[in-house]
């Protein structure tokens, strides 16, 4: 077994055992959040980091997934867990529509369009009260009292997502996605149906983010438009998770998820109670400063710069992760 795989196995065991050892709800919650961000970050990374379509509106898919699960309860009277299955699917359908509208745009204009998309969905969710309960949000009854089932489900989802990303990037799709990123016109001339593959990437991306949203509904038991369609705290956060961890790598978003959740929580809790109160109130400012800092100094992310050893910063190596 390679050193790398060994490290991953050890990490896996640590995660499996964690909630049994650390029985604090608070820390379990933090890890669950981190797992959710692994899902969102990895999906965003597939579309943006690997396929080069930088979405500024991933909140669209997250929120749609969350609301699918929520509406299953409020309108259909069935358990939100069914929403888990459908959350991803509905998000994919939204993704198809978004792709149709937005893929005709390149670069910053694509980013802009997805940003607008996220905001449009937020407005729809706020105003279409008969469907979404508007600003009031959706409140459901939590299925489990203990955090353990949620923890293990989130861990499973996160692991499955990263593994699927790994498989995708090792396949023909992986080559095609990166070719589109590097030079869409050249890719097209080489026989790659760029429209098709951009949409494939988008579908996979929106599916996992949608699932994350549906899981969030089940876990937090409360959502509202401001939270799940948030531009800064979902869409931009997804981008940061990708950037800080390492865009265009498999493990990058996973690393980024833990770092970002950790840093955010550190500020929100005023360094876990060790620092003066006003630090906590400044957590939004800290987030903004973090964006500035990350873009300026960490453009390649933690995992990205890790492979400085071989002097290749972003290569896909089909034979290894």
């Amino acid at each position: 077994m390679t050193k790398r795989n060994l490290a991953l196995v050890i990490l896996g065991i640590v995660f499996l055992v964690f909630p049994l050892v650390v029985r604090s709800d608070y820390y379990q919650h933090l890890l669950i959040l981190a797992f959710i961000w692994v899902l969102i970050g990895s999906s965003w990374n597939l579309l943006a980091g690997y396929t080069g379509q930088v979405s500024f509106g991933h909140a669209m898919f997250f929120g749609v997934g969350a609301y699918t699960a929520g509406i299953f309860v409020t309108k259909l009277g069935i358990s939100a867990w069914w929403g888990m299955m459908f959350g991803g699917i509905v998000a994919m359908l939204i993704g198809l529509f978004v792709g149709w509208v937005c893929f005709r745009l390149r670069g910053p204009y694509f980013a802009l369009a997805t940003l607008a998309g996220g905001e449009i969905f937020r407005l729809i969710a706020t105003n279409w009260e008969s469907l979404t309960e508007g600003m009031v949000g959706i409140l459901i009854i939590q299925t489990f009292r203990s955090k353990l089932p949620y923890y293990y489900l989130a861990l499973l989802l996160a692991f499955a997502c990263v593994y699927v990303m790994h498989l995708i990037m090792k396949s023909k799709w992986g080559y095609y996605f990166v070719s589109i990123r590097e030079d869409q016109d050249a890719a097209e001339s080489l026989g790659i149906n760029t429209t098709l593959y951009k949409n494939v990437s988008l579908l996979a991306s929106s599916f996992f983010t949608g699932m994350a949203g549906a899981f969030y509904m089940n876990y937090m038991a409360f959502i509202d438009p401001e939270v799940v369609f948030s531009l800064h705290y979902i869409s931009i956060m997804a981008i940061l998770v990708g950037i800080v961890g390492g865009v265009g790598t498999i493990m990058g978003p996973a690393v980024g998820a833990f770092v970002m959740v950790g840093v955010q929580e550190t500020f929100r809790s005023a360094f876990f109670g060790l620092a003066p109160k006003w630090i906590s109130q400044g957590h939004a400012m800290a987030f903004g400063l973090l964006v500035v800092f990350a873009i300026m100094f960490l453009a390649n992310g933690i995992v990205g710069d890790w492979s400085k050893i071989k002097r290749y910063v972003f290569r896909i190596k089909p034979s290894t992760i």
Binding site: S179, L190, G191
Partner: protein, 242 residues
């Protein structure tokens, strides 16, 4: 020998400007067909019209007797028409091997097969030594060969080469000429745009000359070299008289 590719009264206009104005020629199977003309005469636009990079304004393009007008670019590639770009477009952050493997997926489906195909093409184009280097680290000569290698990996029957010799030093130039001949000898018909007279005159079977989007001469290399209109277009009025 049958016409593999045929352009019939091809017109490509950008707004009011006709970049390609009523061009007609055909390329026979197994030929190396040269396309020459001064800068901006519309040569690359013709290529862009053939693989539908830009839609044709009027006229037709026929491949193996069937119109391919309006066919999506990636489908044109699947049909068997490969293409290189004048300003090379390497997939910069992928290695040379990855560049060509990506192209090979046009014809095969698994990574194993694609890599095998890619390695063969790299051998053919003398790039095996560079296979693990990032495409962006190659000098211009390597990039041009990579451009060709990628197109070859899609297993074309017909290859559009756009100024593959520009920017090369004399020894690289000779290698490039040899490579083009080798490609033709492997059964691929070639339509080549070239500026460098040495290259195009020595390897072309037939040549078509254009200026301002219109045909000004056609025939064998000798005929075209002595064509007054062609000389005038390249060298100016005075030289045409002599």
């Amino acid at each position: 020998m049958s016409a593999l590719l045929e352009l019939k009264n091809l017109v490509k206009a950008f707004g009011g400007l006709k970049a390609v104005n009523n061009v007609t020629f055909h390329v026979e199977e197994g030929e190396i067909f040269g396309l020459i003309g001064p800068n901006g005469s519309g040569k690359t636009t013709i290529f862009n019209s053939i693989n539908n990079y830009f839609p044709i304004t009027s006229g037709d393009v026929l491949y193996k007797g069937k119109s391919i007008k309006g066919l999506k670019t990636h489908k044109v590639c699947h049909l068997g028409i490969g293409r290189t770009f004048q300003v090379v477009k390497p997939l910069a952050r992928m290695t040379v091997l990855e560049n060509v493997t990506a192209s090979a997926f046009c014809r095969v489906n698994t990574i194993g097969q694609a890599q095998k195909e890619a390695l063969e093409v790299l051998e053919f184009t003398n790039l095996t030594g560079e296979k693990d280097k990032l495409a962006k680290s190659l000098p211009i000569g390597g990039r041009k060969r990579l451009e060709i290698a990628r197109a070859l990996a899609t297993k074309p029957e017909f290859l559009l080469l756009d100024e593959t010799a520009a920017g090369l030093n004399p020894s690289e130039l000779d290698e490039a000429i040899e490579l083009v001949k080798k490609i033709r000898d492997n059964g691929i018909t070639i339509l080549i745009i070239e500026h460098i007279m040495k290259v195009i005159m020595t390897i072309s079977d037939r040549i078509h000359a254009i200026n301002f989007g219109q045909t000004i001469g056609a025939g064998t290399p000798e005929e075209v070299a002595n064509n007054e209109a062609v000389i005038k277009a390249y060298l100016g009025e005075e030289y045409a008289q002599s």
